[in-house]
Structure formats: structure tokens, C-alpha cells
Symmetry: C3
Amino acid sequence: MINVISVNEKGLAIIDEMLDWEEELKVKSIELDNGATVIDCGVNVEGGYDAGMYLSRLCLADLADISYTKFDLDGLPVPAIQVATDHPTIACMASQYAGWRIAVGKYFGMGSGPARALGLKPKELYEEIGYKDDSEFAVLVMESSEIPNEEVVEYIAKHCSVDPENVYIAVAPTASIAGCVQISARIVETGIHKLESIGYDINTIKSGFGVAPIAPVVGDDTKCMGSTNDCIIYCGETYYTVEYGDVEKLEELVKKAPSTTSRDFGKPFYTTFKEAEFDFFKVDAGMFAPAKITVNDVKSKKSFTSGRINPGILLESFGIKEI
Amino acid sequence: MINVISVNEKGLAIIDEMLDWEEELKVKSIELDNGATVIDCGVNVEGGYDAGMYLSRLCLADLADISYTKFDLDGLPVPAIQVATDHPTIACMASQYAGWRIAVGKYFGMGSGPARALGLKPKELYEEIGYKDDSEFAVLVMESSEIPNEEVVEYIAKHCSVDPENVYIAVAPTASIAGCVQISARIVETGIHKLESIGYDINTIKSGFGVAPIAPVVGDDTKCMGSTNDCIIYCGETYYTVEYGDVEKLEELVKKAPSTTSRDFGKPFYTTFKEAEFDFFKVDAGMFAPAKITVNDVKSKKSFTSGRINPGILLESFGIKEI
Amino acid sequence: MINVISVNEKGLAIIDEMLDWEEELKVKSIELDNGATVIDCGVNVEGGYDAGMYLSRLCLADLADISYTKFDLDGLPVPAIQVATDHPTIACMASQYAGWRIAVGKYFGMGSGPARALGLKPKELYEEIGYKDDSEFAVLVMESSEIPNEEVVEYIAKHCSVDPENVYIAVAPTASIAGCVQISARIVETGIHKLESIGYDINTIKSGFGVAPIAPVVGDDTKCMGSTNDCIIYCGETYYTVEYGDVEKLEELVKKAPSTTSRDFGKPFYTTFKEAEFDFFKVDAGMFAPAKITVNDVKSKKSFTSGRINPGILLESFGIKEI
């Protein structure tokens, strides 16, 4: 049943909408010499929240209901994003997860979205979830401060076994509004990824729901990497419906899952990253998780919740001055 | 004016969408031998939240704006449903209200949705609200743990005066995700029904707005009947706009309306039901109401609010263990 | 780039939808003798919340994402509206702002929406934001308790340089449900207008987000003017993304912006207005602002927040009696 849904076909439909609404979304499409289409959502254009919503839909292959909502940070209302999906493994893991590090020549970007399911990046993950897309179009979301060039497209096309003119890339830097939106949209995905990393069988996850504030632009890409991740780490709330059965193991894993269990929990991620001399390998990977995780197991009929949000640290990360 | 809107025609358009999105909704359509179409939303398939949203739209004949939202249960965020309608009597009473008990042979299910307005189930209600549909298609939502068979369809077709091949039934058990969603979507309807039962003229209700948490799957159908009803009884919030005029009587009725006035308020419904030896006639019917009801009377320009939510009891009902 | 989007063309598409959904929206279209189309959303018809949502979309030229949400007034949940736009100056100032006072014969109404961008009402504002529409159709929203007649249409047509048969007017009184909705939908606009009035360059505003409760109908047009404005003044929350740069000046202006800084803050607007003997010139114009304003400057990467909501005064304004 799973393979009937093609994430790249879903993505292509969204790309078409974006091309129809360039003015409204404040994005700009570029046709490269090899025929590939790049949609700039924040590199040389303004972009905006709606461009970020489209990036999020692309990432999730349109297999989620996403909407704006308000998040109350100890009395300070900020825009937030709400994500609901009945296809958590395909939408979040086979598509949204930023699992393709693309470095070609001087170009660097983190690839996420449907095209990964053609290139199988990374292969083990696709084997684990038993999903593989078959499409002549490759749709990729790129978190990068540069517009990908022909060389980058050739690389992607080759790995996805498609023609370069059938490659569609939507790109926004971390330090952009659209970038901030699409990262907060990873709230459900981040919880699944954390659960996977501590040994949970993610194929048992049937639905996911989550809310996370959207970060303001607080500085350069590195600083924004901090504030955007903090949205999930300190105020990200998730709720999963699973079909698991092993109550004891489920309780043990849910307890471990939220960011609150990390040794680095308690200060803005940028501070942690700086203390680690900007070396990712020195940062506890367990940090990358929602602050709050609730799981309803429809097999055992039991539910568990773990973690707590911490608006204070997020406010520190956002640096919003009260005047 | 009222009769211009055909709830079954509205329903049929949603059925078409569901048939187009079977994979996405994780539902499965079945054609019966007599040509009727059944869409399984949770009996032998997974279904999910979106299937539940479609069931809710069907129930409400697409005459409401429904969306996911978050509900904060004393710090525990859970998915919730928000319903807004400018056609409260048609959407909720002529269509959504589960007023058709269908028992044919060994089959049992609670029927709700558009088809009731053809079969006039129950007749007095349709006379009261002055609505009657005229359509050659009958669209029914069934809360049941079994797929209806040809015999059930013949029964429905006969009562609705349509051909069996024009009967469309969407079905989900109480103990399913889709089932839990569609029950919480009854938040606005439950308040109207309660008001009707205490003598309020529901034709004066012009708009309705409500929010209710969505229950996790906590057990079998009986246990889920408890937790889903508790969503409305203990945390359901409603707001009605009416054209009434009699301020004194309005105040008196609104005061009586919320679940908080019931003698059985204060413990999970399943406990009450068990204590009544699972005999519905021993349970106070006044329980079935939102916890909080606010009414704005545009005629007298007065507004009243009554009741209070009780997240603690809902948490007890959900049985979510904090770890 | 700006002029590529025609607010009247966007408006016309919404008018078409409204004409298709008259029954559902409980509105009524009227063709005047000169061929103009008037859509009554609450003068002689019921209208409703959805009619108000359509009026809001018209006002904002469909350049905003608007949705219902819940607002918690110290434990009392009321319906609210959420607005998100990436085109704050065009949507809110070139279109939504109620900048056209229309008094023709005995007819009086406040004009807002797309047609203003043809008539350039007021001219200085359009010069400031550098926007001007070019369309043969004029779409106007009228806050009035009367249906505009042919004479009113001639006046509008002349000022907009369009034929009378190409004039489309949607109208609702202040004291109607649809009227209450469309006023709360001005939450983002009100903040921009206030910022403009204290010397802020509104062309630097790139995105706006806001939430405001929707008032119940509390009395006649004057009383409803009070309660609807109070929704914004006492519980309106906004968040703007700007490209400004001058941190010091930004901090100074944001501090001044919210309604909380007004000498008249602290009592329902109707009381203030009454004390001023219903003379607008005696009321502090600084009152007309959201209660809470947060600004993220993507240029300086700094963010400021000022003001605070006051649900107590809004409850007093709404006059909802707890029973």
C-alpha cells in the first residue's frame, strides 16, 4: 500500500502551485541552463511566512495538514506552526528529514524533501521503513544561503536517476523567514527521528501531531540554526498515535525521548554549540527532540507523556526585548 | 430558504473526495453486491485523524468549518477539533446528530449524517426544525465495529426512499482514531441537543462555535465511548449566537445547559456507566452536554455563560501516564 | 513588483465565490438598476461568521491567511480570528484600511477594501506606499446599516473610473455578526496604521501576524463600534517582521505603538466615547492599536515587544454574564 503514494509527484503539484503564486509568495523561479527549476524562497528575494509554509508542504510531500497558530511564550504571543499527519514515516522520514548533505564544489546545502526517496539518502533509513519512490521528477528542498547551480543539479539528477530538466529545487537560507518556518515544521519529524535513534521501531507510528513556535530572524545562519532548533527543543510539543504493544518498552523509550533528558538541555542551543567550538560531534545528539512527547498506543490502549516545555529559554534564544 | 441546501448532495461531494484520496486517508471503499458503496474508515483498515475529519465533514454535511487545534490539559497538549457553523440546526441536528439506531439482523450501528434527513430519523425533530431533504442519494455515517452488509443497505435505502446503489456509508468503530475524531466533532451539536432537551427553541440558534479535545484510543468500544464523551462533558467549550429575545428564560436555560449541572458530573463517564450497570436509562441524560456554554443573543444584545471545564477528570479518563 | 498584484482582481474572485455560496453564507445579492452588484451580509439578512470571513478576505484582497481560533478571556473561551500576511502594506493599507468615508445624500458608510486603491482614498497613503491598482472592476466593502443605492454606486464608480455595472459592494452593519468578524480581522492593519501615525516607515513591514477575539453583538451600531474596537485595543496581539535597521528608533516607536500607552486605555471604548460626548476628535487616536505589538527586525536581527492584553476590560465591554 505504501508505495502507491509518490512523494515526488505530490511535491511536483506543490511546485506548480508555487510557480503560479510567485508574486503572492514573494519567491522567484530561475531556470538553469540544463533546464532545472530553482525556486528562490529567501536567498536573493524576501520570501516570507507563506513561502515557508510551501517549503514545509514540499518537505512533507503534502501528506500533512499544516497551519499557522499562536504560541504563548509566558505571555508573549508568537506565530507558530501546527502539523498533523497520518503518514508520519513517509512524510517525515522518507521525505522531510534533512538527510542529504549536498556539497558540490563550493556549494553546500542540506537537502530534504521528496527527492531523497529517489536517491535513498540515507539508504538504511529507506530499507528500515520499506519505502522507495519511483518518479521521473525529483523535488528537493535545500537549506542553503546559495542558489544551487547546474553542477549541483547534475549531482542531484544523477543520484536520483532523473534528467536534470526534471529537477526542482526550492531553496531558503536558515537565516530567512521561510527558513525559520520550514524548520519549525519539523516538529513531528524530530520526535520520530529521536525515537528511532533510541531504538524505537518507527514503522509502528501511525499518526503524528505537533506544534512549535516559529523563530524570529536573530542573526546569521549559525545563530538562526540555534534559535530555530530551540523552537523544537524548548517549546516543541508532539503527540503520536502508535501500534506498538510492548507497554514496558514503550514507557522506557518515551521517557528517554524528549530533549529534556539531554545533558545539554537548559541553555540556548547556540550557547551549547559555541561551547562545543561549533563541532557537532561534541554536542549531545539527544538534544534534537521535542520538549514534550505524548504517545497513545492503540494496541495496548496505554498512553504515556514525557518532557516539559521551557518558554523561558526560548525567549532567551529569541532575544525579544520587552520594552 | 432552508430547503435549498441538500445535505445529501453536500455529503455526496465529500464522499467523492474520500474515494479520490483513499491512500492518503488510509480508508478503503467496498462495493456491495447491490451496488452500494461503503467506505471503511477504521473497521478493517487503519484510518486516522484525517479520515475522522472527513467523517466529521460528512456528519455536518460540509456546513461547518472544522480544523485541528491544540488543547492544553493542565500543561499536557493534546490534539483537538474546532467547529464553526452558521447552520447549526441543519448541520448539527438535521444531519450530524446520531439519531438513527440501526439494528438489522446481527448488525448494529448508530447512524448519523445526511441520510437521516431523508428517513426523517426521528420525525419529530425534523418537524421541529422544518427541514427535510430531497435527494436520490443517501449518505450515512455509521459508528459501528462492523461493515454494513447488503441487508443493512436495503433497510436504509427503503427508509430513505432511494435505490440501494445510491446508498453511501462511511463507517468507523468508536474504538478507532477516526471514531474518536468524529465524536469530538459533535461538540456544537451536543450543546444544541442539550438545549433542546430542556425546552429551548433551537430554531433561534444562528451560529455555533466549539472546541473539544480528541480522545486517545483507551480500550474497547465501551471504554472509548466513555473517553470520547468525556472530551465534550469535561473539556468541551461552546459559543452560540442566537436570536431569542426572552432574556429571563434564556438565562435560566443557559444556566441549566452545561454538563456541570448534572448529578453525574465529576467522574469519567465510563465509571458512571459502569456504576449504572451499563444501563443507559440509569445515567442522567443531562450529562451529555459541553462543559462550558456561552450564548450571545443578538435580539436582546445580552450574553450569558455557564459551566466550567475540568481537565483533571479528562486526564483521568484518558489515562495518560506522566513519566 | 508590487503593482503586479491587482487587489480588485483578487477581490472579484472572492465576490464570485460569495455569489456561488449565497445560501451557505446566508447573504443575498442584489442587482441595482445600473447593473452594480451589492451583496448584503447583514443589513436585511442574517449573515454570519462565514460571511464575516468573506468580508475579511475581501478587505485584505485575499492576500492573507485568515482562520478562526479560540481566545481565552480569563477562562471564558470566545471565537477569535487569526490573520497572517506577507503583504502587510498592500493587504492592510492599500486595501483593508477603512479610509473612504462615503456620504452620498442620506447614505453613509465607511468604505474599505480594494476599490480604495482605484479611487486612491486617501491619496497621500497610496503615494507613501507606492501602490495603485489598475482594474476595470471596483470591489468595495461597506460598513453601513443601509444597502447602497444607485446614486452611491455612481459616486464610487466615478471616483474609481469604472462603469457602474462593474462595481461590487459587500455590506454589513457594525451591529451584525459579519460586521464584528470583519472588524476583528483588522488586527494586523490597526497596528500598521498606529505605527504609521507615530512616524514609522511602514514600507519596511514585510509580514504581519495577529489574533483578536470576535465581539458578540452587544447593542446598536455605536455600542458595537465600542466592543469591536475593544477586541483590538484590549486583546489584540500582533507580531510584525520588518526590515528597518535603526534599532534605537525602532525600540522607541515600538514602545509607543500599543494601545496601552494611550491616556484613554483602561475602560471600554464606548465609555470613553460617551464621556467625549460621541465626538471622535476628543478621543485619543492613539487608542486605536493592538494591545500587544512584537517586532522582529531582520536587518538588525533585533526584536522588541511592548504592551499587554487586558481580558478583564474586554469582558466588561462584552457584558457576558456568568451564571
